[in-house]
Every structure is written in C-alpha cells, then in structure tokens.
Amino acid sequence: MTAFILRRVAVMIATALSLTFVVFFLTNLGPNLEKLAKTQGNVRMSDEQVDTWLANRGYDRPLFAKYGEWLGIVPGFVVEQPDGSLRGRCFGEADTLPPGAPRFCGVLQGEWGYSTVFRGEVGEIIAIRLGLTAKLMLWVMLLMVPAALLIGVLAGMREGSRTDRTLSSVSILSTATPEYVSGVIFIALFASSATGLKWFKGTATSAMENATFENFFLPVVTIALFGMGYIARMTRASMAEVMQQQYIRTARLKGVSFRNVVLKHALRNALIAPFTVIMLQFPWLLNGVVIVETLFNYKGFGWTLVQAASNNDIELLLGVSVVSVFVVLVTQLLSDVGYVYLNPRIKVA
C-alpha cells in the first residue's frame, strides 16, 4: 500500500510539473507577453517600448530559466533599470541590492509571486478566494451527495419499475442541463421581474460576506443539479448490480423483509462505487464553479481563474492551475486509496 501511494505521489508530482510547465509556456508566448505589457503599461506602446518594458521586468529571458525561478530552483533575476536602480524578483525595486534579500524565491520557498491584475500577493489572493469557493462547495456537497445517493438507491433497488424509470428520467434531465442553462432558467424564473416571482437574488455577490438562503440557494442548486444526475445514475447502476447478487437472493428467500435487505445487506456494498464517482466529480465541479461564479458574480476561485486568464496574469494563473491540478490529483488518489479500503476484494501491488 505504501509503495502504491508513493508511486502515485511521484506520478502526481510529475503531472503537476508538466502541467505547470505547459501553462508557463503558453502564458509566456510572445503575443501574450505583448498583451501583458500593453495592459499593464500603456496601450499605445511601440514595439521597442514593449521590448524594453518586458526586459526591465525580466520577461525576456529563456523560458526554462524563468520557470526555474518560479519553481525556486534558479536564483531570482536582478535587472538593472535604465535609471541605474535595480529590480529583482525577490525584492522588487531598490537602489542597491538589499542586504537581506533571498537569492531564491519560488514556489518551493513559499513565494507564489505577484498578481498583476489584483496588485497583490498571489498566495493571499488564492487563499481568500479558495475560502469563498470552499463555502460554496460545502453547501453543494451537502445538497448534492445525499440527494444523488437517495435517488440512485431508490431507482436501483427495483430495477425496471415505474419508480426506477421516473427517477432515471429525472437524472437524465439533470445531466443534460449544464450550469449555464439551469442558472439562466432559474434566474429567469425565480429572480426576474418578468415572472414576478422574486424569491431569490440573481447575484450572489452579497453572499461572499453574508450568505443567506435568498442569495446563496440558486448558485448552490445550479452546481449541484448538474453533478447530481451523474452520481445518481452511477449509484443506480451499482445498486441494481448488487440487488442481483446471490446473497441478496438468499436473504430474500430466508424471509428478510425487502426494506431490511436494502438497508442492511445491499446498501453498504452498493455505496462503494459511488464513492469513487463522487471523488472523480471534483474536476467537473471545478468547471461548474467557474461558470456559476461568473454567472452569479460570486468572486471566488473560479471567478479569479477567469480574471487571471483573460488578463494573462501569469503568476496568478500558475497559482490557480497548481491549486486546481492539485485538487484533481489528490481526489484521484483518495478515490483509489478509499476504494481499496472500502472494498477488501481489491488488492494493490
């Protein structure tokens, strides 16, 4: 087991390095840097001015050197400015080299860099935004997981019955409704002056400080609905499979009531597969978070991703991708490890 986890962690690190390098490469392409210079400096800069602007800020050096600096395995750059002062990755602007300035300042040293859009430390920004998104996700999970499991178990315990068909149709409908569709429909129905049902608020900006049922319910439901159908269908398939096992038939023939067969014999075994599915849903939930936060103007992690990406804020974007890749890989690992623990029939080498 330990060897398995170690191997997975090694693959995880390799994946994270490759992915951050891809992000680094794409954000550091010529046209993207030019756009960055023009948005941060002056829109009417000439090509030479763009080049000097980039050179003064250390953007014109080789890709691998810059990536190494960001990682913290290559000393941070120090560039002499036209007016004789110094600008460095690790100390900002100064007239002379500050005595206490560290040589390395990358992710390994805990320095996530500086966000050019929000003009602040990337680490702080991500921590705040991630907290807001965690609040959203907590409620999504609390709503989505029990509802999905309930629908799946009820549908799967009598496969092919009328109940099964009704609930399966509901879950098909929910998987066919992406967040930007259900969000729009919900706002139009429950938050617009067109229908007059102003039950909820169409924006969740105020929910960042003070989440209430009125301003937080719609975004939570919008994300939960899309993920719910898939988990419910997987639970249904798993439950239906378990209900066909020999030991269930034995229990029925022994005279155990249907209710007890479902609750005591089938349920535990049927919930192993959905656990994996729920864990693997995280990357998709991240998508939903980005869409819903944009639609409802909730300034969390997904909203930050959109801001960073549309403004080519390189270091913020790298931080965001590290966090999201980390979430994806850790949930994958957890799902594998958890599966082994829950299902004693599976052994890993």
Binding site: V11, A14, T15, S18, L19, V22, V23, L26, T27, L29, G30, P31, N32, E34, K35, L154, R162, T163, T166, L167, S168, S169, I172, L173, T175, A176, T177, P178, Y180, V181, V184, I185, I187, A188, A191, S192, S193, A194, T195, G202, P283, L286, N287, V290, I291, T294, L295, G302, L305, V306, A309, S310, N312, L317, S321, S324, V325, V328, L329, Q332
Partner: protein, 484 residues
C-alpha cells in the same frame, strides 16, 4: 399592428393544456410516493398458463397518469398542427409551428419510414422498440433538420445578424418595425420570440445557432473518436511502455481543468502564434492514419485491390487534410491557392481543435478499457493462431466487438461536446461575438437576465433539448444493445 399573444385563436386550448399538465405532474409525484407505500397488484398464474393481476390503487393511478399524459400530448399536438395551419393567427406558437413545417414533414417522413421498416434496420430499427430512445431520437433529428433547412434559408424569419434599433429587448410577439426607414416588402411581420439587446430576432438566432452546433459537435466527436481509437487500441493490445506513456499523457490532459485549457488555447493571442494550426496539423493526421491502417490490414493479402484503393483514399483524404490545415497567410501556408479547397476561419478551427483535444483522452481511456477486456476473448486468440497481424486483430476483431458501448458513448459525447461548445460561447471564447451559436447568445443575454429573460432563455432551452435528446437516445441505445 397588435403584438401577438402566445396562442392567438387557439387560446381556448390553453386551460385544457394546463389542467392536463398539472394533473399529470400531480399524478406522477403521487405515483412516485405511493410506490414506496402501497403494494403493487398481486399476480396469479392460472392452470391454463395465463396470468392475471389484481388492480389496486397503484394500477389506478398508473392508468390515470397514462390518460393525462395522452391528453397533454394530444393538446400539444393540436396546438402545433393547428398552429401550422393557422400561421401567426394562432399566436407565437402558431407562427413558430408554421415556420417549422418543413421540419415537421421531414421528421414525420423519417420516423414513419423507419418505423415501418424497423425489423430490417438492425440496431437502429430496435431503437423504435424503446419509447425513451425514440423520443430522444426525435428531439435530435428535430434540431438536425432545423439546421439543415435553415442552411437552405427556409425556417428563419429574419437575418440572424440584422439589427433593428426599434426592436431592442422587445418581448416575444412584437410586430417588426425599424427606427429609421420602412420595413422591407415581404419581410416577416413579427419578431416571434422578441428581440435581443441589439434588436436582433431571437427566434432566427436560435434556429441559426443549431446550424453551428450541428456542424461542429458530431464532427469534432468523430475526430476525437478516431484519435482515441488509433491510440487506445495499440495501448491496450501491446501494453508495456507504450501503454504507460500514452496513459500518462491522457491523464495529464484530463487533469487540466477544461476551462483553464480553453482560456489558454482559445485566445486571439494564441491563434496568432499558430499553435492551434500546428495542433490541427497533428490531430487531423489521425483520420488518415486510421483509414489507411484499417484498409491495409484487411486487404494486404490482395495487393491488386489494396494498392489502388489505398492510393485513392490517401489522395482524397490527403488533399482534404492539406486544404484544411493550409491557410493563406496563416501559420501553415503550403498549398497554392488554386489547389486549396476551403479555408476554415481561425476562430472555428481553434474551437474545433480544442474540443477534439479535450475529448480524445476520455475516448482513449474508454477504448483502452474495452480493448483490455476484449483482448482476452477466444476469437482474438484464434486470430493470433491464424497468424493475423496486430492491426488486423485490433481493427477487425476487437473494435467491431466493442462497438455497442462505443456507439452509446458517441451519442453521450456529442451531447457533452455541445455543452463544451456552449461553455466556450458562454465565456466569449473562440467564435466571433456576433455568432448566433447558443453559448454566445446565452452570454449576450445574461447581462439583462433579471429584466429581459427571453433572449437568453430561448437558446438555453434549445441547448437543453438537444443535449437531453442525445442523452435519451444514448439511454435507449444502451438498453437495446444490452438486450442482444
């Protein structure tokens, strides 16, 4: 002119419709709840082999629900048929139904013919045994025909890009007027579903948006399948280092949040560097490779047939490939203009490439899983003993036997691609901002959603119905292919 109401002359049908629909909803919920409380009727077997079931309250609710369902569908059908006959005399619904007459005819013809010959049509014919599958298929074909006919200029009432300042955010059914000048002679007198924030006709844009989706989504999915199959089969069949490397790469792409990938790939700056063109150049090789290997592995024992066949296929596909990737003054400009068949605008190409890129790793994993399972079968061992080549076994023994799950997944994946295209439009990526595709239209409409919901609601419901249709179709296909 008076603005149109929703149903016009057919409005007496509306109370009937609402009553039937409400009754249906209440009965369905009641049936669901009672299903857990009440016991179903007892079935007894008689001596002569017949069965009889006692009728309890559950069966009563079932029958009532069936009748209300029939009533609802009948009223809906009446609204559509009556609307098609009366035109906009029957309000907005009538006007839309009249515009959609070619679609109704094509749909009726196709479903009727398929139903008549369903026993001779294989898996497709079996689809007609499942209500869910047929309703999904009808929904999908509705949009396919709508896209087909709108490209012949049949359904849309106005130009999807033409603006009229007098029609900004007007509600559904508003008569068409212009701020400056007169309305052109013979143009459609109403904006059936109202105007959007630039005064464009929402109905025409919704129908025109179907064309964008129906053109891109199935084709992109087919490309993703060819990439996934060409890489997934050898990964599973040979295993070893090839499998390790390919699986790592696939997991790498899958670990990327899709939206981040889109934001990194689908920007004008990246298009300017030519990266999407190079990616297209790599990815579009796969179909050529796929067909070449497919035919070569089958016919290599008959060089007389194989050689001309391969030359023909490779020449045609190669020419298409070169025309596709070669763009004048673009990143790759290899083909002289006289030979270049078509140019794909950079925006569409990058959308296409990134959707294929996102989908192929998942297809790869599915194909790999299926092939790992099929590889151990006896007929594969038999083919190996016969001395067949590796590619022959993969493409002509393993692949045909994995087709059932792959067809089902194809339907689901077209739906997923539709959702991805909508996501791209929703973030304003790739497609031009005035494009009528559903995602961009929802993005346009969402800013004023709380006051004027109709411009965003129409494309949202359209997208929902198409994806729902594809999911239902996949479900029906799965059920029927499992029954084999």
């Amino acid at each position: 002119m008076e603005p149109l109401t929703w149903t016009g002359a057919l409005s007496p049908l509306l109370p009937v419709l609402w009553t039937a629909a409400a009754a249906l909803l209440i009965l369905s919920v009641l049936r669901l709840v009672c299903g857990f409380v009440l016991a179903p009727g007892e079935a007894t077997t008689h001596a002569d082999g017949t069965l009889s079931v006692t009728r309890g309250p559950l069966e009563l609710i079932d029958t009532a629900a069936l009748w209300t369902l029939c009533a609802t569908l009948a009223v809906l059908g009446g609204l559509l048929v009556g609307g098609a006959a009366l035109g906009h005399g029957a309000g907005i619904v009538g006007g839309m139904s009249r515009q959609l007459v070619p679609v109704w005819l094509a749909l009726a013809l196709m479903l009727g013919l398929s139903y008549a010959f369903r026993r001779r049509l294989g898996l497709y014919g079996k689809l007609f045994d499942s209500t869910i599958g047929v309703s999904g298929f009808a929904l999908v074909m509705f949009w396919v025909f709508a896209a087909l006919f709108v490209s012949f200029d049949l359904i849309a009432t106005h130009d999807p890009l033409a603006q009229s300042a007098a029609m900004k955010n007007e509600p559904p059914g508003t008569p068409y007027t212009r701020m400056i000048g007169e309305v052109a002679e013979g143009s459609y007198p109403y904006f059936l579903l109202g105007g959007d924030n630039l005064g464009r006709d929402v109905f025409s844009r919704m129908i025109a948006g179907a064309l964008v989706v129906v053109q891109i989504a199935p084709l992109a999915t087919a490309f993703a399948f060819m990439v996934g199959i060409t890489l997934g089969l050898p990964a599973a069949y040979h295993g070893g280092r090839l499998d390790t490397v390919l699986t790592f790469l696939a997991n790498l792409i899958l670990a990327f949040p899709v939206i981040l990938l889109f934001y990194l790939l689908v920007t004008p700056e990246i298009v300017a560097t030519g990266i999407p063109s190079y990616m297209a150049a790599v990815m579009f090789v796969f179909p050529i490779a796929f067909f070449t290997i497919l035919l070569n592995s089958r016919f290599h024992t008959r060089p007389r047939l194989r050689t001309p066949l391969l030359i023909g296929v490779v020449a045609v596909l190669g020419w298409l490939y070169l025309s596709l990737i070669s763009e004048r003054f673009g990143a790759i400009d290899i083909l002289p203009p006289s030979l270049d068949l078509f140019d794909i605008p950079g925006g569409i190409l990058v959308v296409f490439v990134s959707v294929v890129f996102v989908n192929s790793p998942t297809v790869f994993r599915i194909v790999r899983g299926l092939a790992l399972d099929t590889r151990t079968r006896d007929y594969v061992a038999a083919a190996q003993t016969r001395g067949e080549g590796a590619w022959y076994i993969m493409l002509w023994e393993i692949l045909p036997n994995a087709r059932g799950p792959l067809i089902v997944d194809f339907c689901l994946r077209v739906g997923y691609t539709t959702i991805l295209l909508g996501t791209l439009g929703f973030f304003g990526l790739g497609l031009p901002p005035e494009s009528p595709d559903w995602g961009s239209t929802i993005n346009d409409g969402r800013r004023l959603l709380a006051i004027y919901p109709h411009p965003a609601l129409a494309p949202a419901l359209a997208l929902l119905s198409l994806v729902l249709g594809l999911n239902l179709l996949a479900d029906g296909l799965r059920e029927e292919s499992l029954r084999d």
